[in-house]
């Protein structure tokens, strides 16, 4: 890894952060019905998948798991050069009157979460929606605040935060990368 990249969370850090989040979710939701986890496609889905068994054990109940593709709810459809690829969402449980925890890897401007909340409401009317993120890097553009944070990571806007997960990338880590130098501009 070159000097432009800095690993800020390693496998063990990520494991611990997620485990702590699972505990916090259980503590904050003592209702008789367990909350459901909905990961945002794609890496949020894998994080939600990992949270699910821990949470289920902590609340001694089934924890429904879903995933959400927000491509159809993006606010930049009109300005992107091409159509974002759409993936199917999977919400196979009753959303209405349940607490839903949205899970994503990085919280940045808040626009993705806004889109996810919109998408979720097309499946029903949840009792309550909470937000869990592995990394909060700041620079919010919308009034959105996470309920559960793995790690706060102050960054400059020029930097990129990459979350890598085993399932897709073969490694669990969080990396900060400097913005690539602009060539020929």
């Amino acid at each position: 890894m070159d000097s432009q990249h800095k690993v800020v969370l390693r496998e063990r850090d990520i494991h611990n952060a997620l485990l702590r989040i699972a505990h916090e979710i259980a503590e904050r939701n003592p209702d008789r019905q367990a909350p459901a986890l909905v990961g945002i496609h794609r890496r949020g889905s894998f994080l939600a998948e990992r949270l699910q068994p821990w949470l289920a054990e902590l609340v001694s109940d089934d924890v429904p798991l879903g995933d959400l593709d927000i491509a159809l709810y993006r606010d930049d459809v009109a300005t992107r050069a091409d159509a974002p690829v759409v993936h199917a969402s999977h919400i196979d449980f009753e959303v209405t009157a349940r607490t839903i925890v949205i899970v994503d890897d990085v919280l940045y401007t808040g626009r993705t979460v806004r889109a996810a909340i919109d998408a979720l409401f097309d499946y029903g009317r949840p009792e309550r929606v909470q937000l869990a993120v592995l990394v909060d890097r700041g620079h919010r553009e919308l009034p959105i605040r996470p309920d559960y944070v793995g790690k706060n990571l102050p960054t400059s806007k020029a930097e990129h935060v990459h979350v890598h997960v085993h399932e897709l990338d073969g490694i669990d880590e969080v990396v900060i990368a400097a913005a690539p130098a602009v060539v020929g501009a």
Binding site: A78, A81, P84, V86, Y108, T112, A115, E141
Partner: protein, 309 residues
């Protein structure tokens, strides 16, 4: 970006649209069967031919994506006497539609319209020429049922001469790896059709070899030219029925069906008929087409790039 002819799409592009369509299928299962993707976009249905089905399908697809829909329907014959097609398009274009869905009884109309507007133009049928979204939904339906089209033998049976569906499907099915045979009365098979790469048969003798039989609508209104001696004789020679179709074969039809003419009543309701699946596919495929053509910047107007994360 326009969708004027199935010929404009290579295999990869066809697959991209049908893959998207598969994902849109999920939207129809939600409590709110609508997504905000194309909010604020306007889709204009410009229909010079009566077509409740295709127009309804496009309208619903646009609405499922939250686009606004305006319908302009005109009887071709009355328009010929009045305002020209060009003037109509220029007038409607003043409202800045983002997409114009064109159905007309004249070959090349959608292409002509695309020269007069910045909107994305979608050919919803131009004369006897093409009906690309029908071909896409038929490919989608077959992929859903069979996984792929590679190596399939597909027979398109009936009035090929007057069928835009036949023309688009011959091209699309072949592009997806299937082998196409057209079959019908010699008077309804256009001279030179084999140049599209398909085989031609005048009897159903070898239809048992087909994996898929795609029956075309036998249009009563064409009977004025008497291309066949009678519908009774047509049905005797070309009707797809329980006797001619074996259980392993799949039956398709673009609708609306003339029961007792090109299809027997019983076969329409059999499990091997995908006719209802084709109608359902029409919605999601048209959603995918609208999504593909309409997401992305409308004009060159530069807008600040919002960040998403």
């Amino acid at each position: 970006m326009n969708l004027l002819s199935i010929d404009d799409l290579d295999r990869e592009a066809i697959e991209r649209i049908t893959d998207h369509a598969a994902r849109f299928a999920e939207v129809s299962d939600r409590e709110i069967k609508k997504v905000p993707t194309l909010r604020g976009r306007m889709v204009l249905n410009l229909f010079y031919e009566a077509s409740t089905r295709t127009r309804g399908s496009f309208e619903l697809a646009a609405k499922r994506l939250s686009a606004d829909v305006v319908n302009f329907a005109a009887d071709g014959s009355s328009v010929e006497k009045g305002e020209s097609l060009k003037d109509t398009v220029l007038t409607l274009n003043a409202n800045k539609p983002d997409a114009i869905v064109v159905r007309a009884p004249w070959v090349g109309t959608a292409e002509l319209v695309s020269g007069w507007t910045d909107a994305a133009v979608i050919n919803a049928g131009d004369g006897k020429h093409e009906h690309p979204t029908q071909a896409l939904l038929d490919v989608y339906t077959l992929k859903r049922r069979l996984g792929k089209l590679d190596g399939l033998g597909i027979w398109i049976v009936g009035d090929v001469a007057h069928s835009r569906v036949a023309r688009s499907n011959i091209v699309a099915f072949q592009r997806m790896g299937a082998h196409v045979t057209v079959c019908g009365p010699p008077t309804l098979i256009p001279r030179g059709i084999e140049a599209l790469g398909c085989d031609v048969r005048f009897t159903l003798d070898e239809v048992a070899g087909a994996d898929v039989v795609y029956a075309l609508r036998m249009q009563h209104e064409r009977m004025a030219d008497a291309p066949v001696p009678s519908l009774r004789e047509y049905a005797a020679c070309y009707q797809i029925n329980e006797r001619r179709l074996t259980a392993r074969q799949i039956l398709m039809h673009p609708g609306p069906v003339n029961r007792g003419v090109e299809l027997s009543g019983g076969i329409v309701d059999s499990p091997q008929a995908l006719i209802t699946a084709q109608v359902q596919a029409g919605l999601v495929v048209r959603m995918a087409v609208l999504y593909t053509l309409l997401s992305g910047p409308r004009a060159q107007a530069p807008l600040p790039e919002p960040q998403l994360a």
